[in-house]
Symmetry: C2
């Protein structure tokens, strides 16, 4: 089995979207995916680059990806956020997730950022164990809050 | 009492940093603040603008701020993250937090993003109540994970 990690290119986006949809389906949220291949190409490879992604190839086929972008910490300055770390179901347990995460940490280290952050489902104990063994801190007392497009409309109407 | 919300300018950054430090002290993490006024000016008003901030003024004095930046959702595309929403202790309860959040939601709506996200401490019930009343979803099963600079070093050494 020949595996390699490299930067994703615009023409990898159909494969990347497939991975995104596979994960959404696993989380029973398939219909929540609104982005298209064209969106990913525009947002990752257009004038304003909103993200960077790494892909994991096995025998020349994309079987995993990690998507990151900059954030800003008012305590630490520029930091990096790992939005998605996805490995196809059939290729799990072969170290692809580990190899992708290592690439992200290397990248963050090269960029000189003081933190890499991501989010995890609190019942996903295998993932939490993996992250903690890697030295990451799972901040169980911090929750994620989201106001979606409909929520924004309702909010502004009630003001 | 005359209050107003406006975009923060480079020369507001000393006041903004004071607010950041006040919040960190409240969270018993004062020493965690490593950013300086010069960092905030470079990162918010330099060539690469990493954030945008709004300030709340009361009688011409800055008493609150909201700091935002773009993120990228692999489900929704470009979204906005609210990193900090801070009001000085003595000015709480006067609607400044509400006015700042409204400004952020207006901005997100104008930009056409499909989501605004932020993070909240799970024991901060007054904040959670406030956000939920505003239509936001507090995702209690998602935790924040952070790998800091020391963790990155350890990670890469163990590979």
């Amino acid at each position: 089995m020949s595996t390699s990690i490299r930067l994703g290119k615009a023409n990898d986006m159909p494969h990347v979207l497939k991975l995104i949809k596979e994960l959404a389906e696993f989380e029973k949220e398939k219909d929540a995916v609104e982005v298209t291949v064209a969106d990913l190409i525009r947002d990752g490879y257009g004038k304003d680059k909103l993200f960077l992604c790494f892909v994991a190839e096995v025998n020349g086929k994309i079987e995993g990806m990690a998507l990151i972008y900059p954030r800003y910490s008012t305590w630490k300055g520029p930091v990096i956020h790992l939005e998605d770390l996805i490995v196809t179901e059939k290729m799990r347990g072969h170290g692809l997730g580990n190899a992708l995460l290592t690439e992200v940490v290397k990248y963050g280290h090269q960029q000189g950022v003081k933190r890499i952050s991501w989010e995890v489902l609190d019942w996903n104990e295998p993932a939490i164990d993996f992250y903690e063994k890697k030295g990451a801190k799972v901040m169980r007392d911090w929750d994620v809050v989201q106001l979606d497009a409909k929520g924004m409309e309702t909010y502004l109407m009630s003001e």
